[in-house]
């Protein structure tokens, strides 16, 4: 199905002076698509040219439309010599191919040159007419929507989640072609930018085809990565989750949930899925590479390739041993069987999503990860990426088997990454083993009144995901199981690690915090197989160390679960860097973590003992302080019910003894045992010999290092919280103040003979200092939370360590206000699933009474407790813990309000006024702009002179206090910047600072041109920085992605009182 692409060049502004003699420029524009090029007239002697060109029309195949970018080149006309290029703009026209996204691209784009950076701006109009409207998207993957967001996008409803899609394309890297020796750096950079743009277009189209074959219409959690393999070429690969999404119209929003039965019984989108599901094509069909000759070739090469598969670890709570492959025992529920069959049809039951509609996630097993070290080999035929495919296939199989070992049939929060140094490459994949509700995998599932289904669930959803999915008699690793502290019916592990976001329904005590484990390991420089072997030998130790650090730090904070766990291992010539980040929380359903106990050497050295004691004291102090800081008030249920508690204890010890699984080899200094909070300690008989703590023995340097790293982590300053997940548990009343930022640091190691310890310290300090700097910089936003803190580490050169962070700082209202109840309900909905957003009013009006009735229900369930009404005020446990606390808050506030009734109302009007003023600020033509607008006109320059749209950016999937009303398409941009005058541009920092600012500017310009005002799920995937200060040169590659959206403030609609304050507080952000 062909289409017609139309482009019009309107004007330019702020062009650079290209003719020194006249201080002016004779600019014209070349517009290129595929092999067709058009030119505008030369607009002589002007820095703000008004071309106002005709419509340039390109008649092209839709395949090209998907693959190719529109390429706009601005040049300076020169009568005597060759025309000088000023710069280029690449416009991805994919958003125009989807009927629901943007219809026109129109706006000012920065003119970008890989050597000079941004040089002026150009105003462009682009439209696409697709022929054959009736059957618009049948033949190609045009119209498949792509989302970077790793949850169901906010204005959609998931009719069906089909599953994993993956694809990769390879090509030679222009930088390494022979021609690169004779062409200019600019030409080489542009060739690379263009190639990667083409490759990602192609990749997206191919993924789209797979989605259509599966019967879906969208890819959610689309993750695209580049592997710059140097001599071996470029690999562009992508994974995602195919879904069938239904758009929720604004009006339907209100009804969709309350009247599910009025929805059409079978959706039009679903109909083709039936056929394709059985078809083998659904999985990894690659129609373009089917030449048998080539494939045998590659098979041979595969065998030549050096490849080491690293024994990987499964992190499921305590389990740090090897993955003892035990099949899950007999299934507990019929439900699981259904899911199993639904999922077994899939080759890889993986989901890149990290947030799920309520009820989707049934149980979570733990983190599964796999790594593999490979030696890169030149890709001889770009049309044949089988080798790379086979590598990933291997890894995915491993992940799948790990998940099986945990008794799970699916992997959620799945991601893949690589680290390359010279010819060695580590491929990594990680995810969370889980059991999913099959409803979403079956057709038309959601049409059968999803509300009714929820009541059939065997376990309360708020703690269900914590319950172990594996059979307790056949545990895949040694873990301490207890009965769930919430429902007391199912078993839960004592610690839970996951790569997903905290489920909305989860009951959490207190707030969460960012926990990082950092590790450096030196290695000898080596080549080829020797190098790869030494790396793969180091990997398991690194993983183990990182895991231990995480566990220690988690305990130190008195928390029992990690979410959003991401472990990155980076290779350099002479070292390996490991960085694990996660958000620690206290899950009410899991047992209270015990303390950390320090044990000294066996010898009775007095000074040593004292040393041990002082460390113990510091650790205890730190734990107490952390508990207070994160407001962790563990539930008291079991403490009040010692009998039940003992019962469990007994049971557990029996289990542990009779466990048929041999304990995997563990380091002797680690003894993990039953853990309970210190509150219970007094009531327990400790003579059982069960140590109620996590013991650290300081008998070797490693342990000293561990303790050191434990205690050097400075807590964030007052008023700051941080997490690497979408939202911070325990913080709900966000204001609209937000600041997305990227910070990059490179450290040069000067010391030639470093030890592992000193290197570790340097690396840890580097990360800590970076965090401190961030807190300092953002201090004006207090109280504030750094969300989605994403660290990436790299070893760009021998003695360099690079750390890049992208995150968003969001400020919140500290004082709990009466509206909190309603707000909270709305927030949860907004953060996770539209279903909930549809009745925020209902919820907030009734939740108080609901909470009360639930609470009483709970009381009767625990007789001892109901007997002691005097203690009611301290209730903070169980499945309704969070609601209870809000309910209590409500009571407290009501009392408060009675005491100072008038004050309350005045505050509310104040907040109203504030919200009005904040909404004024985001109006398209803010006050103050108009003045500059006028002056632009009067000065005669400017051209157009429209004010610049404010574009918000966030790595989260939502913007607090707003509603996303439209997704305009995916933003996926790749830029190269190079300089041969590094000193003149302010050194490496000046160079990179400018470049990152330019990347932001170009992202904002593209979003604004699509008609959007924000980017959500923004991420910087790649930031490769290379320098050669002696030659005064530097080069940097950046790849960013996100979803362009249109948002409206909640207050722009008729202001529902409960919604108001989410957007008030109106500090217009960070200044």
């Amino acid at each position: 199905m062909p289409g017609k692409l139309k482009a019009k060049i309107v004007a330019g502004r702020h062009l650079p002076v290209m003719d020194r003699a006249s201080d002016l420029t004779d600019a014209f524009v070349e517009v290129k698509f595929g092999n067709t090029t058009f030119k505008t007239d030369v607009y002589p002697k002007c820095l703000n040219p008004q071309w106002n060109s005709e419509w340039f029309k390109f008649e092209v195949d839709d395949e090209d439309l998907q693959d190719e970018p529109l390429q706009i080149t601005v040049l300076d006309h020169d009568t005597y010599s060759a025309n000088d290029a000023i710069g280029k703009v690449y416009i991805d026209i994919d958003p125009l191919l989807c009927s629901e996204a943007a219809s026109v691209i129109s706006g000012w784009f920065p003119i970008y040159d890989t050597i000079h950076g941004i040089r002026g701006e150009i105003n462009v109009l682009v439209k696409v007419d697709l022929f054959n409207d009736l059957n618009r998207f049948r033949q190609s993957s045009c119209g498949v929507k792509f989302f970077c967001t790793t949850s169901i996008p906010l204005c959609y409803r998931a009719a069906m989640v089909h599953g994993f899609v993956e694809e990769l394309v390879v090509n030679e890297d222009p930088e390494y072609q022979w021609i690169d020796r004779i062409r200019t750096p600019r030409a080489s950079n542009e060739a690379r930018q263009r190639l990667i743009s083409l490759m990602s277009g192609e990749l997206q189209r191919k993924i789209g085809l797979k989605v259509l074959e599966m019967g879906g219409n969208a890819v959610v959690g689309y993750l695209q990565c580049f592997d710059l393999e140097g001599e071996s070429g470029i690999v562009v690969r992508a994974i995602g989750t195919a879904c069938t999404l239904d758009k929720l119209s604004a009006g339907a929003n209100a009804n969709a949930y309350t009247h599910p039965n009025t929805a059409p019984a079978s959706n039009a989108c679903n109909s083709p899925s039936k056929d394709s599901k059985e078809s083998p094509l659904a999985h990894g069909c690659r129609s373009t590479h089917n030449s048998p000759v080539h494939s045998t070739c590659s098979a041979q090469r595969l065998s030549q390739n050096f490849s080491v598969s690293v024994p990987t670890l499964i992190f499921a709570g305590m389990g740090s041993g090897g993955s003892v492959g035990k099949e899950a025992g007999p299934l507990k529920m019929l439900l699981r069987q259904q899911t199993q069959t639904a999922l077994e049809q899939r080759e890889f039951p993986f989901f890149t999503l990290t947030c799920f509609p309520p009820g989707f996630l049934v149980h979570v097993g733990g983190v599964v990860s796999a790594r593999s070290v490979k030696l890169l080999d030149r890709i001889h035929n770009p049309d044949e990426p089988e080798t790379r495919d086979a590598w990933w296939e291997e890894i995915r199989q491993e992940i799948k088997s790990h998940a099986k070992a945990l008794g799970c049939h699916a992997v959620v929060g799945y991601s893949e990454s690589t680290s390359i140094c010279e010819e060695v490459c580590i491929l990594s994949a990680a995810g969370t083993a889980a059991i999913l509700n099959p409803r979403y995998m079956r057709e038309g599932c959601l049409d059968i009144g999803s509300g009714d289904h929820r009541f059939d669930e065997p376990s309360p959803p708020s703690c269900g995901f914590c319950h172990i999915p594996y059979d307790e008699l056949n545990m895949p690793f040694p873990a301490q199981l207890t009965y769930c502290y919430q429902c007391r019916r199912q078993k839960v592990p004592d610690v839970l690690f996951t790569t997903i976001d905290l489920p909305t329904e989860a009951a959490v005590s207190g707030k969460g915090c960012l926990i990082q484990a950092r590790l450096c390991r030196l290695k000898k420089k080596a080549q080829g197989e020797v190098n790869a072997t030494s790396i793969s030998n180091l990997l398991p130790f690194m993983e183990y160390e990182l895991h231990t650090q995480l566990m220690n730090k988690l305990k130190l904070r008195s928390m029992n679960a990690l979410f959003g766990l991401r472990i990155q291992i980076s290779i350099g010539e002479n070292m390996l860097l490991g960085l694990a980040s996660a958000t620690g929380v206290y899950l009410s359903a899991l047992p209270t973590p015990g303390g950390i106990q320090i044990a000294g050497k066996a010898s009775g050295d007095l000074s040593n003992e004292q040393h041990v004691l002082s460390i113990q004291k510091r650790i205890n102090d730190a734990m107490a302080k952390n508990k207070e800081m994160y407001h962790i008030n563990p539930p008291k249920l079991f403490a009040l019910d010692p009998e039940v508690f003992h019962g469990i204890n007994m049971e557990l010890s029996e289990e542990a003894a009779g466990s048929p699984i041999p304990e995997p080899k563990q380091r002797s200094r680690l003894f993990r045992s039953q853990s309970e909070s210190s509150d219970e300690l007094s009531e327990l008989d400790l003579s059982h010999g069960k140590k109620d703590a996590f013991v650290l023995e300081i008998d070797d340097t490693d342990a000293v290092e561990d303790i050191h790293s434990l205690l050097t982590d400075a807590p964030p300053p007052a008023g700051f919280y941080s997490c690497n997940t979408e939202v911070m548990p325990g913080v709900y009343n966000w204001t609209s103040g937000l600041q997305m930022f990227t910070s990059v640091r490179v450290l040069r190691l000067s010391n030639a003979n470093l030890t592992n310890q000193s290197l570790n310290k340097i690396f840890t300090d580097m990360c800590e200092n970076l965090l401190k700097s961030l807190y300092f910089k953002l201090r004006s936003m207090i109280p504030c939370c750094l969300c989605h803190v994403n660290f990436t580490v790299a070893v760009p050169e021998d003695e360099l360590i690079q750390v890049a962070v992208t995150a968003v700082a969001m400020s919140f209202d500290k004082e709990p206000i009466l509206e909190k109840l309603g707000d909270r309900a709305v927030f949860k909905g907004a953060g996770e699933n539209e279903d909930q957003l549809q009745f925020p009013m209902e919820l907030c009006a009734e939740s108080a009474s609901v909470a009360i009735s639930n609470l009483t229900a709970k009381f009767t369930g625990v007789p001892e407790y109901a007997g002691g009404p005097s203690r009611a005020t301290s209730v903070d446990y169980g499945s309704f813990a969070d609601r209870c606390s809000t309910w209590l808050e409500l009571i407290r506030l009501k009392a408060h309000t009675i005491r100072r009734g008038s004050v309350k109302t005045s505050r509310r009007t104040q907040s109203l006024a504030r919200s009005v003023s904040s909404s004024e600020r985001c109006s398209p033509l803010p006050e103050g702009r108009s003045r500059s607008l006028r002056s632009t006109r009067s000065s005669g320059g400017g051209g157009g002179g429209t004010a610049v749209t404010v574009v918000k950016m966030t790595p989260l999937s939502f913007l607090p206090g707003t509603r996303l009303i439209k997704y305009l398409g995916i933003i996926n941009m790749f830029f190269i910047r190079e300089t041969t005058s590094l000193r003149e541009e302010g050194g490496v920092s000046g160079f990179l600072h400018t470049f990152i600012a330019e990347v932001f500017a170009m992202v904002r310009a593209h979003v604004a041109a699509l008609g959007g005002n924000a980017v959500v799920s923004y991420s910087m995937k790649e930031c490769v920085f290379m320098e050669n200060p002696n030659k005064n040169q530097a080069q940097c590659l950046i790849n960013v992605s996100g979803d362009a959206v249109v948002f409206v403030r909640d207050t722009d609609q008729e202001a529902t009182p409960t919604l108001i304050h989410t957007s008030c507080g109106g500090t217009d952000g960070p200044t």
């Binding site: 502004r13 702020h14 000012w108 920065p110 941004i118 701006e121 400075a714 600041q739 930022f741 990227t742 910070s743 990059v744 640091r745 490179v746 450290l747 040069r748 190691l749 000067s750 200092n769 401190k772 700097s773 961030l774 807190y775 300092f776 910089k777 953002l778 360099l800 690079q802 803010p926 006050e927 103050g928 702009r929 003045r931 500059s932 607008l933 632009t936 009067s938 000065s939 004010a947 610049v948 404010v950 574009v951 918000k952 950016m953 302010g986 920092s989 000046g990 990179l992 600072h993 400018t994 990152i996 600012a997 932001f1000 500017a1001 904002r1004 920085f1025 320098e1027 217009d1068 960070p1070 200044t1071």
Partner: protein, 366 residues
């Protein structure tokens, strides 16, 4: 263990006003860090020197990147590189163009040339303002001068629109441009006691009343037709010619006596320094009228303020006139001229004396 590279880039450009001021004041990064370390509220964030250093470097870099745009403030509003909220943009511009009164006093009325710029290190050591800051302020004057030099229309409005400044600051710049263009002498010892604000006020009066642009709408159109440039920057030549006619007030003996008696009648009993006024009348009147008559010479225009001080303000001050006396005297001096039957130049007289009066009021410090 050197930090090779350290950058922080926010989607909304973060700018700390305090650091901005330090940068504008020409502090080096190290000095700025020292100042910041002891300033209030730092201990609250447990900020180490390292952290403050990193932040300061970042901000300085941002300011340097912005400086190019600040040279052309209208660009700041529609550039795409930095996302800065409008009120922050206004703050950046306003602060960038704000100058030190001490500094401007040193260069006020001087030619904004390379030569003057070379002498800035003397100004710097004299005023205690860093050379960097002096250069910025000087370059600002020069830039504004260059831009408005080529523009038609009212001076203040031109400055305000091209540099997006507040009304007050635009007026101050108009004064600086006006002084630089007419090269008024302000550096003599006798004028040292006057502040920049005194001069700025006078400049405002001169611009408002004595330039071509001051003569009202009809003249304004006429000016546009004739493409007369710098209508607010140059004094109205015709008016200066007309001022010569005022000489009759001192050359005609009858007129002088008549004027004196009218003024004295009006003043009698209303002031303590009546006798001094009476004895000095002729001297003072000659002084003021002579200033008027000589203004056709560029040289004498330059000496306008020094003449005012020497010929009028100093004699009065030595006689210990109070400000109120001065007001009274000048009011009656001006008004009485209208009662002189043979004095035909009432309009020119008012236009002249109106400005002189307000200038002297401003310049006469008790």
């Amino acid at each position: 263990m050197a930090v090779e590279l350290d950058v922080f880039v926010g989607n909304t450009t973060i700018m700390d006003e305090e650091v901005y001021q330090l940068w504008l004041d020409g502090y080096t990064v190290n000095d700025a860090v020292k100042v910041r370390m002891v300033s209030e509220g730092m201990e609250e964030y447990e900020a180490s020197a390292e952290v403050v250093m990193s932040d300061t470097m970042d901000q300085y870099r941002t300011f340097q990147m912005c400086e190019r745009l600040l040279h052309n403030p209208t660009k700041l509003a529609n550039q795409l590189l930095f996302q800065i909220p409008p009120h922050r943009q206004a703050m950046l511009i306003e602060r960038y163009y704000t100058f030190d009164d001490v500094f401007v006093r040193e260069v006020l009325g001087k030619k904004l040339s390379k030569g003057t710029k070379k002498d800035l290190d003397d100004v710097s050591s004299k005023t205690g303002i860093t050379l960097k800051s002096c250069r910025r302020q000087f370059d600002n004057f020069k830039r504004v001068f260059k831009v408005v030099e080529e523009l038609k229309g009212p001076l203040v409005e031109n400055i305000r629109q091209n540099f997006i400044l507040s009304d007050k600051l635009a007026r101050d710049y108009a004064a600086i441009v006006f002084f630089a263009n007419n090269r008024f002498e302000t550096g003599k010892r006798k004028l040292q006691y006057l502040t920049f604000q005194d001069f700025a006020f006078c400049a405002g009066q001169l611009i408002k009343n004595w330039t071509v642009g001051a003569v009202g709408e009809s003249v304004f159109l006429y000016v546009l037709d004739n493409m007369v440039e710098d209508m607010d920057v140059d004094l109205d030549k015709e008016f200066l010619q007309d001022l010569k006619e005022l000489k009759i007030l001192i050359t005609d003996k009858d007129l002088l006596d008549q004027h004196k008696s009218l003024v004295c009648t009006a003043l009698r009993g209303k002031t303590k320094v009546y006798t001094e006024m009476e004895t000095n009348f002729k001297n003072l009147s000659r002084g003021l009228v002579n200033i008027a008559a000589k203004l056709t010479n560029t040289k004498d225009v330059r000496d306008f303020f020094i003449d005012l001080v020497e010929k009028f303000i100093e004699p009065c001050r030595s006689d210990r006139w109070a400000s109120a006396d001065m007001r009274l005297y000048l009011t009656h001096y001006t008004n009485s001229a209208h009662l002189l039957d043979t004095f035909k130049y009432q309009v020119v007289w008012d236009r002249y004396m109106g400005v002189i009066k307000s200038c002297i009021f401003k310049m006469y410090h008790d």
